[in-house]
Each structure stands twice: as C-alpha cells, then as structure tokens.
Subunit: 347 residues, 4 copies
C-alpha cells in the first residue's frame, strides 16, 4: 500500500515517518514539505539517517496514493483538503481542522472561521479503542489532540458505565515541550523552558470541546475543565483527572472492572496500579516511542473522590502512532502492526 505524508518536516510528520518506514505493510511514496522542498527528510529527522533517502517535495508534486496523512499546524489542512480528498481515497488528518463536527464549536474555540465547514461532517473522530467499527469503515479520519485522547481514554469507561458524575471532572494536564511543535519561540528557548513548571493554560484549553463532544455520546451533559502545566519533558503527557464517584465509597474493584470491560481487547491500553515499587502508576517517561496509553487510579479513603491518571507519548499515541493504528484498522492490517516498540528503561 502506498502512503504519502503532507507536512513532513514537523515533529508529528517525523514520527509518522519513523513508524511507516518500519511498517511491514506500507511504502512511503512521498513526503511533502512546502518550505523545505528539495531537502532530505533526514535533515529534519536525524534519527532516520541510514534508513531512508526520501526527499521533501513541493505540494504541487503530490501524486495519487492509497492513503494520505496530513500533518500540518492547526488551521492549515482545511485549505488543501478538497484537493487531497481527490488525490487519495483515504485521508488521515492529524491536526485540529476536522475534529469538531459543528461549525459553531470551531468558531467558539478556534480562530479564524473554518474555511470548509461543509467537510466537517465527513470526517470521523477517531479513538480506536472506542470507535473501532467506525474507523474500520471510514475513508476520512480526524485524529484527536494528544491531550484529548488520553483524557477520553481515561474517562470513557467511567462515564459510559455511569460511575462518576459527568459535571465534576477536572483534568490537570502535565505537558511536554514537543507539543508546541518544531518552531523556536521565547517560550521554548532552553534557558526559559528547561526545568520550568509553568501554568501556561490554567483555563480555556482548546481540547476541552473535542473531549466533551466525544464523551457526550455516552454521558449527556458532560463538562470537563482542563488546566495545563508545562513541565520538563520533551515527549510525554500525563493527566491527573479529579472525578467524583456517583457512589461515595466506590470500591477499587468496581473501577478495575469498568476498565477491564471497556478495554479487554485493546492492545495499547494497560491498567497500571501496583501496591509497591516505583512504577505504581502510569508514567510518560516509560512510554517514549510507544503507542501505549497507560491508565491508573486511586480511590480516596476519605470517600467522595476518584483520581484517574493517564499517560501517553504525545507524538505516538497522541499523534502519529494513533494515526497508524487507525490506518491499520482501515486497511485490514493487524491493529498493532508497526507499533511494537516497548519503550526504554531507564531513560
């Protein structure tokens, strides 16, 4: 199967390349990068040196392929999408442009207005562990934001099985620097960013709306409140979710069962909850390069509170790995093809 990537010089595009170049079922046909056309992809992704001789190409050079990945900054893919949908029978978009199905949500949370609102309904919002069937049948996929997918995966079983109140959910997210992409800025300047524990978005996080839209199918009226803090980490994302169980003294077993029931056949979800040792709860550090979403939880012995912890690699399960997982479902490959890297320790 021939696949191409639009937006190959960014971190998301590079991670896609790493995964696809080692995927047994596909051939990477073209990598498009407008401002860097003509340069080898290894100029941007030095980890791929010796693995590929692909060269970034101009958007105009795009040829038909079986599946097209678009990995562009928010607000960019909407313009080219009509053309690209003609170029490839299947499209997987990694940006935010087609995640929301209602135009007014886009207007409220993003600017400027959406250029192609009529296309919004033609994309499937894709969390493979929840929307497996839809994805398998889909032609156009919108991959969730990294902060959204880990929160959704952590909350879905609890909401769907009616274990927590849908109106008292606080997501305290610890974010890494790669989430801001490849472009240097004062906020990413090393002397300022390293060692920072910085409240860069205490309220108003854009992923709020896609989490709510996804989950309200299972929990009408759900509201989530996100606070995001940047910490010292290049890859990875941890959410600490503060929830209120419907039953004050909810048992740990009940929670365990909810996750088991929901994710029994999900190859990338691990429930991490141990009594002893260092690795009792999910940790993003251990997930670098992997497609896992690790989930753990703790019940407050004083009652009335359930803390859920979710961790991913924002560039893999949060972006490129999830996209490859969706492609596997769409193309009929085993779900974990090309996604077997178990992660490093120590690291």
């Amino acid at each position: 199967m021939d696949v191409s990537i639009i937006g190959g010089s960014g971190y998301g595009g590079g991670e896609l390349l790493r995964l696809l170049l080692q995927h047994s079922g596909v051939r990477v046909k073209q990598v498009i990068g407008r401002s860097s056309a003509g340069l080898p992809v290894t100029r941007f992704h030095p980890n791929l040196r010796g693995l590929t001789s692909l060269v970034l190409e101009d958007p105009e050079a795009l040829q038909p392929c079986d599946l097209l990945f678009t990995s562009l900054p928010n607000g960019k893919s909407m313009f080219g999408m009509p053309d690209w949908m003609r170029t490839a029978p299947r499209v997987i978009d990694l940006g935010a442009d087609f995640r929301l199905d209602r135009e007014q949500d886009w207007i409220e949370w993003y600017t400027p207005p959406h250029a192609r609102p009529e296309l919004l309904e033609r994309f499937i919002y894709a969390v493979p562990e929840i929307h497996r069937e839809r994805i398998t049948a889909a032609e156009r996929i919108a991959c969730p934001g990294c902060e959204a997918i880990v929160s959704i995966l952590a909350l879905y079983p609890l909401l769907e099985q009616n274990l927590i109140r849908p109106d008292r959910i606080i997501i305290d997210a610890k974010m890494s620097s790669s989430q801001a992409g490849r472009s240097p800025s004062p906020a990413s300047h090393h002397p300022e960013r390293t060692g920072a524990v910085r409240s860069y978005q205490p309220v108003g996080h854009r992923h709020t709306i896609e989490i709510e839209r996804c989950l309200e199918e299972y929990a009408p009226g759900v509201r989530v409140d996100i606070s995001a803090t940047a910490v010292e980490m290049v890859r990875g994302l941890l959410v600490t979710i503060h929830a209120e169980p419907r039953i004050k003294d909810i048992g740990e077993k009940t929670v365990w069962q909810a996750y088991r029931r929901a994710y029994r056949e999900a190859p990338f979800i691990r429930i991490i909850k141990q009594r002893r040792g260092l690795y009792r709860f999910p940790e993003p550090k251990l997930l670098q390069g992997t497609n896992f979403c690790d989930i753990g939880f703790a019940v407050d012995p004083r009652g009335g509170r359930l803390v859920v912890i979710g961790a991913i690699d924002n560039l893999v399960k949060g972006t490129a790995g999830n996209a490859v997982q969706c492609m596997n479902l769409m193309a009929g490959f085993p779900e974990n093809t090309g996604l077997g890297f178990p992660g490093l320790h120590p690291v």
Copy 2:
C-alpha cells in the same frame, strides 16, 4: 543573638545555615548532627565553603542559646523536645511533630503514636502572613509543611472572604526532589527520577490535615483534596488549586481585591498575573533561593471555576526561610532581614 541548629546535615538544616550565616542579627553558635559529629558543615553544604568553619557536634554537646531551630525527620524531634525547651527559651521546629494540635489527628495521619502529646498545644502553627501576632508573642513555633504553606497562603484570602466553596477544593501539587530529603533511595536514583512525571501520592497526602486545621478557623467544614506529582525540579513547588467560586461569574477584580486586602503588608507575597509574556503566572523556577510565595489565578470564562496557582521554593518559604521569618518576628528584627535574595534568571 545566639542561635543553634539541631539537624544540621540535611537539606533544611543547610538552608537554615545559609540564611543565618548571612543574617545581620544572629550568630550561629552550634550545629548539631548526631551521625556526622566532628565533620565540618561544608562537607554537607559545599556552597558554604569559605563562609564558615563550623563543625557538626554531638547532641550531648548542646549548650544554652537564645533560640533553637530543630530540623529533623518527622517523628524525631518529639523525643528531645522536652530537654530542648529547657535549653532555649525559644524553639522553632521545622518538622511535622508539633504542627497538629490534636493527638487524634497525628494518630490518624502519622505513625507511630505521638511520644509527647501533651506538648502539642504548646506550639503555634506559624504562617507569618496569617498569624503574625501570635508568632510575635510565641515561644514555640511549628513551621508548616512546604506543601501546606503554599496551599494555605493561596486559599486563605478566598476562604476568609467567603469567595469560594470550602468543600470543593482540589490541590494538584507539582513536587521537587529535594522535598524527599538527603537520603538516597530507589525513588531518588537519578536514572529513575530525572525527567519523571510521577504520581507518587494521588490521594492521602499528610499535609491535608494541617491545611484543613489551619483553614477551618476561617472556613468551618473546609475540606481539601491533594494529589501530588513529582516532576523534574530540585527545588520548588507549584500548586494548581481548582476551586468553585460561590458566585458563578466571579470577576477577576473581586479576586484581586481579596488577595490585596489580605496581603497588603506581606513582604513575601507577590500577586503574579500578567496578560502577556512568559512569566504570566507564578513559577517555582524563578523562586529558587528566595522567600517569596507567588500567587496567581485565572477565572474560567465558562463560569463556575477559579484556578489558583501558588509557587514557592520548598526549602526557603517552605522550610528554612519561613522559619527565619518567624524568628525575625519573634526577635523584633525587620521581617525580611536576611531574606533579601531576589532569585536568579535565567536559571
């Protein structure tokens, strides 16, 4: 004024020494360190090389002094305290042993039982910004835990002025490695700890009880829920506090005024809330070595939520600096004597 320190080889003791050696009003008479008696303090605190020739002494060698600081692991100072109270007319304890005034609270949150419950009532729990008068008149002080003091300072004006609900307070704390003290452990081993974002205590944090005991004087029935996550940082502590305003659409001005009213004359509280730039909210990185407690906040435009952010250096405002500030009040020195270091940038 002659002061001595019991527990001079740990991180808290070292920070006390740094501050006291440069304090214009005191002389450090003795530094006690049982297991390291005979060694120069600079063996443990290399930053003091060239500044002092003090040598750690055996507890038996302790002589009378004007004020005694005790800086020992939790559960240790209770045993020597009766003797030490005879050695010095004023005692400032930096550990947890005398922070709670009710024996049953100690039993519930700490183990084993308290060795000297009859002394609990004789110590003043000391947040200078709230208890200035009590401290000025006190002979025995129990300094708050680092996580407690920053949470208390962030919450007190809002609770005391009745702006938030006392029963919906979640404290998401981001913790540094120096909080665990000087002894190596598997959890502090560099390959495991560096770059970690680790939920080491999602529920059940011991500082819960001292925060509630302190605040219920101003907000009966207050309940706080703490989740603590270790992040990459040696010094520093940030709390993200998720609160529910009593009025759904609370204005930013109202919150500002509450803090101004409460802390108008507090030299170490700064309200940090800017519209632009990198440093819009409090950051522990900028506070290393300083006695500041920086506080900021954000009102959710969707309503119903107020996020408060507090930052300190856990070894200064969270431990040794707060103790020196208390000493200044007790001894009649200007409150900020010896605490003028403004912090470094970049760092």
Copy 3:
C-alpha cells in the same frame, strides 16, 4: 536457539531482555537474579510489561542452554564462570572480568586479585567491527566497557592507518547516570546528580588499559589518557578525542577515507559530519535505544590537531546491543537482527 541471562535485574540485563524478547532467532529461557528470585522481571523493567511473564530465578535453578549472557557487577562473574562454561557451549560476558588477557593488568587496574586468571586467555575481547572473524569463531566473548568501545571505534582507523601519533591521545568522556548501574548512592541522588557537570574521574579511568591492549595490536606503544565528566543524561556517552595528526595539515578527505575504508561494511557505524544545521556531529541523545556508534571529526584550521567525536548509547552499543551483535555473528544470524530500532527524535 535458547539463551539465558545471569544478572537480570540490572540495567544491562534489562536492556538485553528488551532486545532478546524481540529477536526473531532466540527464545529467552531463563533469567537469573539471585537477590530477587521469584519476582517478575517487569518489576525491574517496567517497559516490558505486557511483553513477557518471565520470573527471576535462583542461580541454582540454571539449566543448560545454547548461549549464556552474564551481566553482573565487575568482579562477580569470575567466580561462577567455570560452572557456567559447562552449562552453555557459548558464553558472552558483559562485565570487566574477562576483558584483560594479562593477569598483571587486572591486578594493576582492579582489586582484588583475579579469582580465575587461567580463564583470561580463553575469552575473546569483542569489538565486532574490528574482530568480526574472531567473534564468529568464538565460544567465549568478553564485551568491552562502554567507554572503551566508543573510543576504540573512533581511534582504530586512525591508528591502524597510521594517521595520528599513538602517544598523544586524550579522551574527554561525557558520561551518563545509567553507567553507574541500578543501586542508589549519594552520587546518584537526584538533587545532587541532576544538572551536574562533575569531574568524577579526571585521571585513572579503568577502561584505559583495555583500550590500550586492544589498540596496541595496530599501534604499538599506544597510550590514551581519559578524563571522565558526568553530565545530565540517563543514557548515552560522548567522547571528544584530542589527537595529533602525523602530518600537521592533514586533510579532511584523508580522515574520511580512513573511516570509510575501515567501516565500509559495518552496519552500526555512521560517519556524521555536516556543514550545517543542528546535527553536524554525533550526539548521544539521538542514539537512545539504538546500536549505532556515530563518529565525526574536525581538523583544526591552525594545524596540528584532529578532534574526533564518538557517541553511543552506553546500554546498547556500549553493553547489551553489542553483546547481541556478537551473538548474531556467533550464531550465524544477520548481524543486525533484533537491532533495528532507529532511535527517536525529538527526545
């Protein structure tokens, strides 16, 4: 092919496990860990959760296998080796015990005396890129130290082709924290170790002797001087080698050709030397998890000096990956089987 590991709870053993569990040609039969017998290996190597249910076993339970890896602290494998050599027809030792062929060298650089000096000659010191034929024919292999192998690989072509003076070689090594192994110590305590740039061994590094013994086959009288500095890094090792070319104005082309000639068929050696961009020279950060040894160099335009830069992941090419590469040669697998991970970026 059945392989077993002695010393499965350490970082080297864990990395071996990661590589062997995904190796298409072998089955991991047993993992021995004396002090942790009975515990699952995932207790120590959380990255392997979901990948294996192996449990650490007692040394007495060791059964015959086709190839045995021993991964123990220096000075430990010499005691069991006579037994183990009977248990398995092939042994690969990852420690220092059998790296030196002369007993007096061991005595001079290590303590206490060697317990089995008669076995020293029966092990092959194994740098696959130099000793390919010997390794292919070998039954017992001693893998080089991590600092040794990167230095040897960087120097060998220059010495063997007589381009630099063998008596003016300074190796300035930048070391990571995983090199010190899994046991916590004051030096590895996070508040002390993180952000450190610490001259922990300016002279007298033990790898000196194995580098000299290996290289003097090609450059009689070679002497190397190592200074080792610990820097902030969990995995990885960079050497900056300061050498003096025999011809004052040696050309870059000459140096290029020397490396090309030596490593034309070496799948894990990459010559990294670019004019522009960030990734002009080898960087350990990009090699985490990979078996590459990247080598670069710079000729001083003032003449008289050649700087060579070598980088590896100390746990892969510096330990477990090199061992697997040796196994591949010994067992007739393609040299890079199981070693294809290209590394991550950014990370």
Copy 4:
C-alpha cells in the same frame, strides 16, 4: 555613584542589574534597551519584580553618569563607544569588541572588520586576579569572555611559574545554554537542546585568541586548543584542561603551591580538591549566582599529565560579576561588595 547600563534586556544586562540593585555603593540611573524602550525591566528579568521600577530607555535618552556598563552582542558596542566614552568617565564593556589589542587578531577571528580599531589599545583586558593594579588605575575596561576567564584563571599560575609546557594545552569546555543569549534559535529550542551533549565547536573557538594574548605575557609562545561541548545546564561553565607538566612526575604539592602563591589574596578563587565525597572537584552547579571561580586538579599517577578543572557561573564571574568586581576596584569599594551570594545547595 551613578551607573547606567546599555543593553539591559539581555541575560548579561539582567545579571548586572541584579548585582547592582543590591550593591551598597551605587545607584542604577538608567537602563538602555533600544528595541524594548518603554517597557519595565521586570518584563525581561522577572526575578527583579518588587525590587525595582526601572524602565528601559532609548539610547538617545542616555545621560551622563559616573560609570557606564555596555552589555551588547559582539560587534555592536564598537559603534557607539566614541560617544559613550564622552558620556561617562569610566566604561566597562562586557562584549568582545575591545578585548583584543591588535586589529589583525579581530579580523582573523571575528567578522566584519573592526569599526574603531584606534580604540582597541585604550581598553584594559581585565582579569582582576591578574591585572588588579591595571584595573584600579583604568578608565576603560574590556571584560573577558566567560570561557576565556575561567581558562586563564586555571592556567595562569602554572604558566607564570613555568610548571607546564605552553604548547600542549587542550581545553575541553562544557557549556551552558545561557551563553548563547536571549534570542530563540533552532539550537536553543527546548526539544532539541535539553539533554543534549553537543559538540557545537570542536575547533576554532573565538576565545582562543584572547586567552593566548592574555597568557603570552607570562608564557611566550603559548598555544591553547579549545573544544566546546554544549551540555544540559542553563548557567555555568566547566573547563577540563589537559596539560603536560614540564617535570614528568610533578607532585600535587607543587601544583597546590603554585595556585596558593598566585591567588592568596583573591577572594573569589577557591581551590577545590578533596579526597572524598561528592564535591571533590569544582562544579558549576554549585556556583549559580556566585562570583566564584573554583579550581581543582589531578596529577596522572602514570606521569606526564596534569588535568586542571575550572568552574564558574558564566553570567557572574564569566560576565556581570566580574564587571562589578572590576568596578569595585576602579571605584575603591571593597573588592567583594555586592558579590557575597554564596550559592545554593542542592539546586
């Protein structure tokens, strides 16, 4: 005494401000910052919040003052200097423009040509520990580069007392990110820079020439070769200097005495060399915010080699602190006025 700063928004200017605002003998009259005129200095230096209300001013607004600090990027201060020399009777330049006394050296190592070569001879290159008398009498000072001053201080006693060969000196420098200044770049982008161990300048470092020019007064024909590697550190600089003693078996005592003799009265030089413990050699981590230059050494027991280790905070002793120390000498203040901060531990 009234002092002003030209170039107040950069890291060097901020550090100057921190030191001068707390200096008992001076008043900061103006801070000039062309592109940010009108903004408070705390916008750039958040550590100074609450300490000053100074506002950056346009260069045209510069008024006469007693002493002027110029802290601009290399190649910028040469243009304004003729004017500024009329504005203030004393000028201390922190950049490279006036460090070299010979125009041809500037041309060879910097570009473009020097705009004011006739002024080169009118500046004193200022290492207070070596040039105390010249500085005391000087009106115009050029402060050394950070990498130069630590190397000069480490080498001067050995060369001046003829203990090492002047033609075999290799300086392996470990550099921090603040040395590259305040402007973001791909090289300073956090995901790329954090955790890096990057050979950014293996040959051709510009500080070579100022080190040689300074030291050849004491050691004719001296040649130094610098290789610079960026490591994970915001502030700080460590040099590992590989030297060849004139006597093969030079004793440690001889080296000690050389340093003692040279620096007996130097308040900011500490010789750090201990047999035990973590802090045996100089470490930049411990020097953050201080004006110390710590120097240590090791003699190779095999003979023929002396390793010298020097550490500073590049922004203090490497830039702003050294400038204040020079000002103190020029103005007759005690040498360590305003420079008493001992540093933090742990940090």
